[in-house]
Symmetry: C2
Subunit: 124 residues, 2 copies
Amino acid sequence: MTIRQMCDAFGVTPRTLRFYESRELLFPERRGQQRLYSRADRARLTLILRGRRFGFSLEQIRQLLELYDPAERNITQTEAALGAARERLADMEQQHRELGEAMSELRQQIADGELWLNNLKSDA
Amino acid sequence: MTIRQMCDAFGVTPRTLRFYESRELLFPERRGQQRLYSRADRARLTLILRGRRFGFSLEQIRQLLELYDPAERNITQTEAALGAARERLADMEQQHRELGEAMSELRQQIADGELWLNNLKSDA
DNA sequence: GGCCAGGTTGACGTGCACGTAAGGTGCGAC
DNA sequence: GTCGCACCTTACGTGCACGTCAACCTGGCC
């Protein structure tokens, strides 16, 4: 898959893909100068974009990706990656809870606003 | 409440509070040059900080705060704010779902990593 | 009056995640 | 051959959310 196909498929720019590569988040093969993205690269990009939506930094995402990466597996590295992953998971769980609470509050506020609006309109 | 008491209570810096004020997120009263924060200001700051944790921009937060603000209530403004709030809520719901899925995947990956680690250790 | 802690306002600096412009390369179509 | 297009690298620019620093009040205490 060329860089353009990747961009079209994921809705990102070439600049973004090259930037991710410079930060060691993606490692496409090279045919001469051209980048070629494999199925694994597409899976990684999916994870990267998801992580970004959750507010994780590219560096945090890079560390998480090590957990998915079967290469360079030794005990200390895996243990470090596991520790980082557990911390991220705890963050995500707290964020998940707080997001649920915030959604409830926002729904309540919306309902209040709608009620207020209907009262105003029925008066008129 | 002075700026220092606010900072201690919310774990932010004076710079942050003045910055929020410059972006019209907070409107503390003035006793001479000093800022004085009311109960309403503290409630607004709570909402601001929560919004920030969910990745909303300060501008988005400012628009949402209009929904909470009982001043300057007219129909078109409230309807616009309600529309924005519904869009944000939809974003939050999607983010909530995706975050749940990502947590499941990450838990699975952690379990895999732990299993692999235990196998390696029991071999040794 | 002297002085200091704590407040104030700009103005500039920083880290992140890219965007953008400049100039060069490879390659198939005509 | 050369035109055009897509790709490449390098370097600088941008927007956001603040941090940092300089310079200046201001009230309270000795």
